[in-house]
C-alpha cells in the first residue's frame, strides 16, 4: 500500500495480506487488527500513526514477529512468517528485523560493545568481525569512544544511538522503531531523527510507530490506523507540497 501511484519496482520486504489479530478478553473478542493489508518496500521510511486503541501496538508486535496474526499472511522478505513456530520466529527477529524501542532497552549490566553484540550472539556470530562491526557502527552513531561504557553512564540520546547501532548490527531488512524519540527531550529528539534521516538516505528501510505527528512527518509516508483498520496512507512528500492520501 505504500507504493507510489506510479509503478514501483523496489523489492517488497514486508507485507501484510488481510491480517487480522483478535484477542479474547473474557468472553469478548477484541478485534485489534481487522483485515490490514500493506507493503513496505526496500528503502521506505514509513510512519504508522493512530490514536490509542487504533491497533498501532498490535501492528508493531506483528511487524516485529513478536506475535502471530489470527488470520491473514505476513511476509518478511517474501516468506510467510505468520504461522512459524517460536524458534523460527526468533530467527526471523534476529536476522531480519532491527528493533529500536522508546525506552532504549539496553541491557544494563553489559557494556556498549557487549550490548551491540547481543543480536549476533544468538546467531553464534560473535568474534573479531562482530567487534569490528560494533566499533564501526558505534563510530557511525557518534559513540566510537564509549564502547566500554555501561548504559547508565550514557545520556538518553546516547543510549538511543547505541540502540540504533544495535538494531543495525544484524544488517536487518528493516528497522522497526517504537516511539523512538518518546523518552527524549526535543533537542535530542531532533538529533535522533536526523540520524534516522541519514540512515534512510543510506538506503536503510525504516518503519516507525509513533503518535507524534512531527516525527511521522519526517517519514516519506504515514499509515493511519483507526479501529484496527487502515484509515489512510499519506504520502508526506506530496502532503507537504499539497498532495494527498491514498
Amino acid at each position: 500500500m505504500t507504493q507510489s501511484p506510479m509503478s514501483d519496482d523496489r523489492k517488497v520486504i514486508a507485507e501484510f495480506v488481510d491480517v487480522h489479530r483478535h484477542y479474547m478478553m473474557g468472553t469478548n473478542v477484541v478485534r485489534a487488527l481487522n483485515g490490514v493489508s500493506m507493503q513496505v518496500r526496500q528503502g521506505d521510511y514509513l510512519a504508522i500513526m493512530g490514536r490509542s486503541g487504533s491497533g498501532k501496538s498490535t501492528m508493531l508486535n506483528l511487524l516485529g514477529c513478536l506475535d502471530r496474526p489470527t488470520s491473514g499472511q505476513y511476509l518478511v522478505g517474501g516468506r510467510d512468517v505468520s504461522q512459524l513456530d517460536d524458534d523460527a520466529l526468533s530467527d526471523v527477529r534476529g536476522r531480519e528485523i532491527g528493533f529500536i524501542f522508546q525506552s532504549f532497552n539496553l541491557i544494563p549490566q553489559l557494556t556498549v560493545l557487549e550490548n551491540l553484540e547481543v543480536p549476533l550472539f544468538y546467531q553464534n556470530r560473535v568474534g573479531p568481525e562482530s567487534r569490528a562491526k560494533a566499533e564501526h557502527l558505534a563510530r557511525r552513531v557518534g559513540l566510537g569512544g564509549r564502547l566500554d561504557h555501561r548504559p547508565l553512564e550514557l545520556s538518553g540520546g546516547q543510549q538511543q544511538r547505541v540502540a540504533i547501532a544495535r538494531a543495525l548490527m544484524n544488517d536487518p531488512l528493516f528497522l522497526l522503531a517504537d516511539e523512538a524519540t518518546g523518552n527524549l527531550d526535543s533537542n535530542t529528539e531532533l538529533e535522533i531523527l536526523a540520524l534516522l534521516d541519514e540512515l534512510r538516505a543510506e538506503g536503510v528501510t525504516i518503519v516507525i510507530v509513533t503518535h507524534n505527528e512531527n516525527v511521522a512527518l519526517r517519514a516519506d509516508k504515514t499509515l493511519w490506523l483507526k479501529d484496527g483498520e487502515v484509515e489512510q496512507l499519506v504520502d508526506n512528500r506530496l502532503a507537504q507540497t499539497g498532495g494527498g492520501a491514498s
Binding site: 516485529g64 532497552n105 553489559l110 543480536p119 544468538y122 544484524n170
Partner: protein
C-alpha cells in the same frame, strides 16, 4: 564461556544477594566435606586399631573386679586373686590346638639406665608374641625359646623406651636395671609402632619385654601396692591371653569356645574380658555405613535448603529481569537461549558456593586436627562428590525459574516496567 561470563556479570549486579544465596550451598558443601573428613578419620582410627589387634586374634584380658566385690572377697591380709590362670591358657590351647596361644604377664616397674629413669610396664611373654601382635624388630632379635627355658635376663624394648633410656647410644648389649636390682641385657629393639595397643594406657613402644618364665620367677604372681596409707595385695597369674587363629573364618567359632571356657568360669567375679577385633571391626564397619547414611541425609537436607535458596533468588531474578528477557527475545534469543542463560547463572551461583565450600570444608578438618587432636581424612572423591552435587543442585533448582523465563510472552516481557 561467554554465557558463563555474562552469568557472572548478572550475578555481580546483586553482589550481596548472590553471596547470601551462595552461602547456603557453601555451608552445605563445607559441612559435608568436614563431616566426611572427621567421620573418615575417626573410622580409620578405629579400623586401624582393630586391625592392629589382629583380625584373626582373640584377646582374653584380666580385669580388676569392681570395688564392691573386691572388698567382700578380700580379707585384710589375703591377696585379692583375680584374672586368667596359666591352667586356663592351657585349656584354651587344647580346645584350639591349631591356634597360637600366647600368655602375657604385665608388671609395672621402674627401669634405670645410668642417669635415665622410666617407670613402665615389663611384659613377660612368649616367643609367638611378636607374630601374634604383628610387631617387628628393628635391631637385634626377639626373645627365643632358649631365653624362656633358661630364664635368662634378656629383654627386648620398645622404640620409645629405647629413646628414653638410651638417647645417645645403641641399646643392644646394654643393661637395664629394674627396681629390685635385677639386670636385663637388651637383645633387641622393636620397630616404632605408633599406636595405642599396649597395656595399662601405654603403648608397646614404651614397654620392656622379657621371657615369660623370667617374669614369673622374678616378679611372681603377687603385686603389692600401697596408696594413701593402705596396703593392697593382688594375685594375678596372667594379664592377657592372646590367641591367633590361622584364618579369620575360624574367629567366630573360636570366640564362642573361648567365651564358653573363660567367661563361664569367671562369671562370678566378672574379671575376664574377651575382645574379638574382627567383631569390633565388623561393628565399626556397620556403624560407618550407618554414619554414611546419616551423613547422606544431612547433606541432602542442607543442599536441598541451599537449592531452595537458589531457586528463590533465581525466581526473583527472573521477575526483576523480565524486561531484559523481552529485549533478548526481541533481538533473536530463542527459548533455549534464555533457559541456558538462567541455568548457567544458577549453576555459576551454586558452583561458586561449591568452590568456596570445598575450600572451607578442607580448612575445617585441619582446624579440628589442630585443636581437638582428632584425626581427619579428606578423600578426593568426597570433595568431587560434594562439589558435583552442589553444581547439580544449582542446575536442578534453576530449571523451573529458567523455564518460566523462557516461556514469557516477549510482548508482555517488553512491556514490563
Amino acid at each position: 564461556m561467554r554465557t558463563v561470563k555474562l552469568g557472572l556479570k548478572s550475578l555481580m549486579l546483586h553482589k550481596l544477594r548472590s553471596c547470601l544465596t551462595t552461602a547456603g550451598i557453601l555451608f552445605g558443601v563445607a559441612s559435608v566435606i568436614a563431616m566426611l573428613a572427621v567421620g573418615e578419620g575417626a573410622s580409620k582410627e578405629a579400623l586401624d586399631r582393630f586391625r592392629d589387634m589382629g583380625v584373626t586374634n582373640i584377646l582374653a584380658r584380666s580385669v580388676k573386679p569392681p570395688d564392691t566385690q573386691q572388698s567382700s572377697s578380700q580379707s585384710a591380709f589375703s591377696a585379692m586373686a583375680y584374672g586368667l590362670l596359666y591352667s586356663e591358657a592351657d585349656l584354651v590351647q587344647s580346645a584350639l590346638p591349631k591356634a597360637k596361644v600366647v600368655r602375657v604377664r604385665e608388671v609395672q616397674r621402674p627401669l634405670m639406665r645410668g642417669e635415665y629413669f622410666r617407670t613402665t610396664i615389663v611384659v613377660g611373654t612368649e616367643t609367638d608374641f611378636i607374630e601374634v601382635t604383628n610387631m617387628h624388630i628393628s635391631e637385634g632379635r626377639w626373645l627365643s625359646e632358649v631365653d624362656d627355658q633358661t630364664l635368662s635376663n634378656t629383654c627386648v624394648i620398645g622404640a620409645s623406651l629405647a629413646n628414653t633410656l638410651f638417647p645417645l647410644e645403641n641399646p643392644l648389649g646394654q643393661t637395664i636395671l629394674t627396681g629390685n636390682d635385677d639386670r636385663y641385657v637388651v637383645v633387641g629393639v622393636l620397630e616404632y609402632q605408633g599406636r595405642a595397643a599396649g597395656p595399662a594406657g601405654t603403648t608397646y613402644d614404651e614397654c620392656m619385654f622379657i621371657p615369660m618364665s623370667t617374669s614369673r620367677r622374678r616378679f611372681g604372681e603377687e603385686v603389692s601396692t600401697s596408696s594413701g596409707g593402705s596396703f593392697k595385695r593382688e594375685r594375678i597369674e596372667l594379664n592377657e591371653v592372646k590367641v591367633k587363629l590361622e584364618t579369620s573364618e575360624e574367629v567366630e567359632s573360636a570366640a564362642h569356645i573361648m567365651r564358653d571356657l573363660l567367661l563361664e568360669a569367671h562369671k562370678q567375679q566378672n574379671d575376664v574380658e574377651i575382645t574379638v577385633p574382627l567383631e569390633l571391626l565388623k561393628q565399626e564397619e556397620a556403624s560407618k555405613r550407618m554414619f554414611n547414611i546419616v551423613l547422606a541425609v544431612i547433606a541432602s537436607i542442607s543442599l536441598l535448603v541451599g537449592g531452595i535458596g537458589i531457586m528463590n533468588v533465581m525466581l526473583a531474578t527472573v521477575t526483576e529481569r523480565t524486561r531484559e528477557i523481552g529485549i533478548r527475545r526481541a533481538l533473536g534469543a530463542k527459548r533455549k537461549h534464555i533457559i541456558q542463560q538462567f541455568l548457567v547463572e544458577a549453576g555459576v551461583l551454586s558452583a561458586l558456593g561449591g568452590v568456596v565450600g570445598v575450600l572451607l570444608g578442607m580448612l575445617v578438618p585441619i582446624g579440628i586436627e589442630a585443636w581437638f587432636a582428632q584425626k581427619t581424612i579428606i578423600l578426593v572423591p568426597h570433595v568431587l562428590l560434594a562439589f558435583g552435587i552442589s553444581a547439580a543442585v544449582g542446575v536442578v533448582f534453576g530449571i523451573y525459574p529458567a523455564w518460566r523465563a523462557a516461556n514469557m510472552d516477549p510482548v508482555e516481557a517488553l512491556r514490563h516496567e
